[in-house]
Every structure is written in structure tokens, then in C-alpha cells.
Amino acid sequence: MARRATPEVNAGSMADIAFLLLIFFLVTTTIEKDKGIARQLPPDIEIQDPPIIKQKNLFLVTVNKNDQLLVEDELMELDDLRQAAIDFLDNGGAPSGSPEYCNYCKGKRSPESSDNPKKAVISVQNDRLTSYKMYIAVQNELVAAYNFLRDRESQRLYGWKYTEMKQAINEGDIEGSRADAVQERLEEVQELYPLKLSEAEPKKSGS
């Protein structure tokens, strides 16, 4: 019963094993970064007397079951929607001196279109058979129009784009009291161009 010294285990292959595991995890890892278009739904309560919106302050976007776009009773390609929405929101048609006058708008100031960005409402109506792809594309373009205008105003007032400010806050690049100040600025810009996107009840069938 001589006690033999146990031979040392060769650890040379440990690296290989570790590599194998490493490669397995490398392959299976999906670092998910979900991003999307955020939206606040209107609460489900009956509004007693809904505010009357003037026809000229309303921008009607209709999508039919074939994913065709009808904007203010005219056929339109998706490419042109963003500019059309910007023109509508930024019109500022109220005459100078009236309480609704918009002093930061740079639009055409046509009396036919919206009075003030704070009054302007974009209404989207879908068909139930509209594809989700088209729906998101339309929403994306409309949000892009708002972002464009907010960026412009934010750049003018604070020298910093709205979308960049928002991203900086979301990623926590700014801390403490500065974050509050920036948050305040965000809200001020939002005040200038409030997101007023309404969604009408979709049509029941493909009509």
C-alpha cells in the first residue's frame, strides 16, 4: 500500500474547453435592444362635449385597405407626407396681433391652413384591413414631422436639438439638477409644438 503521489492533472486543455463554452455563449447571445414609437393612448371615458375643431385646423390622413394614402382629400405618396405635415403644423395662419398669432412659425401663413401649432390636430383614420407596416410608416412620418419642428425650435432657443436632448436624458448622460433643467426645456419645446395626433375609430370593413 505504498502511497503514490497523484500525478498532476494536465490543465493545458482548459483553455480549449473554455473557448468552446465561450463560443456557445457568443452564438446564443442576442443583446436585445428594443426600440419603438412610444404613444399615449387616450383614456377610455366619454367626453361630454368634445371641443369643436375648426376644419382648417384639422389635417386628415386616411389610409385605405390597399395601403393608399389620402391626405386632405388628395392622394399622396408616403414620401411627401412628412413635408405636408410640417407645412400644415408650421403654417401659423392666425393674423398678426390676434391672440392665436404664432410668432415662431416659419410657414406660409396661409389663412386656409392651421392657425397655430397648438391648435393643429392631425387625425389618422385607418381601415381595419390596412397593414400594420403602413400604419407604422404613417405614424413614423408624422412623428418625424413633429421632431423636425421641435428640433428647429430647440436649436433656435437653446442651441441643442430636441431629439438629442431627449436621448441624453434617456441615456442618463446628464445628472442631478442639470437633468431637471434640461427636462424643463424639453417640456417647453413640447409646449410649442404639442403632439396632437388623434386616431379615429377605424372603418369596420374594407369599404
Binding site: 419603438g36 412610444a38 393612448l41
Partner: protein, 157 residues
Amino acid sequence: MSKFKKKKSGDLPAISTASLPDIVFMLLFFFMVVTVLRDSNLMVQQKLPKGDQVEKLKKDRSIFIYAGKPGSGYEKYGTEAKIQIGDKFTDVSNIKFALEELRRKLRPELQDKVMVALKVDEDTNTGLVTDVKQELRDLNLLKIIYITTPGNQLDQK
């Protein structure tokens, strides 16, 4: 003088690879930690629409709703678009229960800041999404986010 004479360099000494396992293990642990094994098995097709005006999703306070046609392996459920919450298909009328169940799993302090993430296949009809949204309004879960993939729909044309 000979003191500064360069030593005649012989063979380069072999680089020690003894620390290689340590490095590899470090990487291994990193990937083991960040790997999230998907907790719900996707049963629907998910080709998300493209969007570029996006915001980041806060994962700790979100509930996912998937919708789309049944994916591969689930063809027996037909070709109509379906809603999946958690691990199973759900009917529009059952959304409330399923969501309530999921909401209870979140951290208590975040339960009233819930955000509902809608992951919907791009070929789905908007009607289904509208139904889901109506249910969410009934439940008073008003913050939603349509998950998209990076890109822009316009570029495809």
C-alpha cells in the same frame, strides 16, 4: 566596451500562454451574464416594421404583446394573425387576464408605470391592433410602444 555589446539575441523566448485561460474565462463569464435566454417562446412570425423616430424601451417596466401569423411549427393554428402573451395564444377577450397576470410579476413599485410593448408583425391587419388598444384602454394601461426595427420604410421603394 564589451559591457555594452549587445547580447547576441538567440531564439525569442516563447510567450507564455498560461494566462490565456483566465482571459477566456473572463470573456466567458461576461457573455454568460449578459445572455438572456428568451423566457417566452415565440409562436408567431415577427418581422417588425421599420421606424427611425424611436425611443428606447425600459425593460424592467414593460409587458410584451406579440401578434402575427402563427410561425413555423405552429401552422396547425391556421393562417390568421394571432395574439401571443407570455407563452400562449390569447383571444382578444382574454387579454385582460393575461396582462393582469404579467403585471403582477413586475416589481411592485413599477406596477403603475407599466409600458406595454407591442411587437406586431408587419403583415398584420391594423384592425387587430386596434382591438388590442381598445382592451388596453379598458385596462387603463395607456402607455404603449410600437416596437420597430431600425431603418425607414421609405428606403425600400
